[in-house]
């Protein structure tokens, strides 16, 4: 299951959804807020989440992981709102009979969540500046799929 939280993630409760008598492995991933991005000192982040679609797409990612890998359980939660340095922004946990599947599924889930979900982070810098991550440099090559219909990923 995938969920969006407006309060600090309760990692113990999230992990409690994974145990199973047939599980011999548990892999978890925590994404933390760090204080540096592209050599600029970051003081905090705001996460904007479009929840209606994030929940649909997030649960689709979880279903894909269950389908692709021989795992027993998978759980993911993502924060929305204001986060300070060191806080946990996203948590993924997977249990499986053997470790390989749990590692692979955990990696698959976090990679797809980052790529596909309508979630945006705004960084607050030490110098008072702010910036939307991935929005400042992505048009550097001057090309845009918006000008080339049919080339978009769906």
């Amino acid at each position: 299951m995938f969920s969006v939280s407006h309060q600090a993630l309760d990692l113990k409760t999230l992990k409690s959804e994974l145990p199973d008598p047939g599980a011999g492995a548990c892999v978890t991933f925590e994404g933390w807020i760090r204080d540096l991005n592209y050599d600029k000192s970051v003081t905090a982040l705001d996460y904007e989440v479009y929840e209606e679609l994030a929940l649909t797409e997030g649960n689709q990612v979880m279903a894909e992981a269950m389908e692709k890998f021989p795992i027993i359980a998978a759980r993911c939660a993502h924060m929305a709102g204001h986060l300070e340095i060191g806080e946990c922004a996203v948590w993924v946990g997977v249990s499986s009979a053997h470790r390989d599947a749990a590692f692979l599924a955990c990696r698959y889930i976090i990679d797809e969540i980052k790529k596909r979900l309508p979630i945006w982070k705004k960084e607050f810098f030490q110098d008072g500046d702010t910036g939307w991550v991935n929005c400042e440099d992505s048009d550097k090559d001057g090309k845009s799929p918006l000008e080339a219909p049919g080339k978009q990923k769906t």
Binding site: A89, S138, D139, D141, P149
Partner: protein
């Protein structure tokens, strides 16, 4: 002319100065609609921008119908 509700998120919302508006437009596709709103609000053409129509991820070449809601997403950065 079609009446389309347009919703903006994150950087696009800040740039547009509103989170949604209803426009009467000739646009047949989200790509054509984006060209209209980009000009209207000075939105940048960002390489990894995405679009959803009526809360489902879509392509920029989808065919728009009267009454559709089109959501423009700047490049995502979750995780």
């Amino acid at each position: 002319m079609k009446n389309i509700k347009v919703r903006y998120f994150a950087m696009f919302r800040e740039q547009a100065g509103c989170d949604q508006e209803v426009l009467a437009v000739e646009a047949h596709t989200p790509a054509e609609l984006f060209a209209v709103v980009a000009q209207r609000h000075g939105l940048p053409h960002l390489r990894d921008a995405k679009v959803a129509v009526n809360d489902e991820m879509s392509g920029f070449d989808a065919i728009l119908q009267d009454g559709d809601t089109v959501l423009f997403f700047p490049p995502v950065s979750g995780g």
